[in-house]
């Protein structure tokens, strides 16, 4: 059963060791080459921290379980900092083909909560397979020429 960025945003993140509420899911950082969620951003602003996908023990419908609070770490490097600041958030981002034409704005992104594999991008009234993604950055998500808009 797929989950989605939009429905998972705001979900609580809980320590399995202490049952403590560690914050809420704010953004996702996607590794485009691997087509997987690299890490989950917990909290916003200066308090934002990252959990690597490997540290997520269960991405459930009501809570995201991590081993303990030690799984949360500050952003390292420019790309993670941009993710923590929400600048890489794919929701609401424009999508361009590699030919430089706009496809639309991303409404939602579906993924497999068991593996973190990103499955589909919902763009306006279309659904695009995530394996057409070539890049994801601060300005746009870039997809390959197979998704060229029909004039």
């Amino acid at each position: 059963m797929s989950d989605s960025f939009r429905s998972a945003t705001g979900r609580k993140v809980v320590s399995r060791a202490s049952a403590a509420d560690l914050g809420m899911v704010s953004y996702f950082l996607v590794d485009v080459g691997q087509r997987r969620i690299a890490s989950v951003v917990v909290g916003r602003g200066k308090k934002a921290r990252l959990v690597d996908w490997a540290q997520v023990s269960g991405f459930g419908p009501d809570a995201v379980m991590v081993s303990d609070e030690g799984a949360l770490r500050p952003a390292a490097g420019d790309r993670e900092q941009a993710a923590a600041d929400g600048k890489l958030d794919m929701l609401g981002k424009r999508t361009l083909t590699e030919r430089g034409n706009k496809v639309g704005t991303i409404g939602d992104v579906t993924f497999d909560p068991a593996t973190g594999v990103v499955e589909m991008l919902q763009i306006s009234d279309r659904t695009i397979p995530a394996d057409t993604m070539l890049g994801s950055g601060t300005y746009a998500v870039v997809v390959d020429a197979s998704q060229e808009p029909v004039p």
């Binding site: 361009l96 030919r99 430089g100 034409n101 706009k102 070539l134 890049g135 601060t138 300005y139 870039v142």
Partner: protein, 186 residues
């Protein structure tokens, strides 16, 4: 599909990395070789808050694609200092700007004054026509042969060009191939 754009439509487009998804610059102007009818590169502005002229240029060979909404490049290494760019990009000739030139047919009729370039975009950038301001007023588009005589004040086109003046870019797109086929037959 054939996509034609004027140089002024390309100016201001963001320059976006395919594999990074970041807007690393903005098009300032097209650098064009009128004799060869070829886009040789783009000059750039910086993006965002600290906007202003960028010292780097984008040679045509490093352009992945030009589209309606963005100029795509592989990554930031495509942007180079003028000294590291081919000569016609790094130090373009300043005396060959065709904008404002009079367009004369071989028979000596003026078709108008060049106002803009019309480029066939996509993977490369070929200048296939000009937007002209007609002597009687109003705009039109003329197709260009592959090679052209340009003086810096006027340019000379074949007489048959007169039959291929179109009202818009779509019309020009349809006319270019027919025009060149006609020239080939002569």
């Amino acid at each position: 599909m054939k996509l034609l754009m004027t140089a002024s439509q390309i100016n201001g487009l963001p320059v976006v990395t395919v594999h990074g998804g970041d807007d690393v610059a903005e098009v300032r102007d097209v650098i064009y070789n009128p004799e060869a009818g070829r886009l040789v590169g783009l000059t750039l502005n910086k993006r965002g808050f600290f906007s202003g002229r960028s010292r780097e240029v984008l040679p045509a060979e490093a352009i992945h694609a030009i589209g309606r909404d963005a100029v795509m490049i592989a990554d930031e290494s495509s942007l180079v200092a003028p000294a590291d760019a081919p000569d016609d990009v790094g130090h373009p000739a300043t005396d060959r700007n065709v904008i404002g030139n009079d367009v004369l047919t071989e028979g000596g009729t003026s078709l108008g004054v060049v106002r803009d370039l019309a480029l066939l975009v996509g993977s490369a950038g070929e200048v296939v026509g000009y937007q002209i301001e007609k002597p009687a007023g109003g705009h039109g588009y003329i197709p260009l042969p592959a090679q052209l005589a340009v003086s810096g004040a006027a340019l000379v086109v074949p007489d048959v060009t007169q039959e291929f003046i179109r009202d818009d870019l779509v019309g020009l797109g349809a006319a270019v191939d027919d025009f060149r086929a006609r020239l080939g037959m002569q």
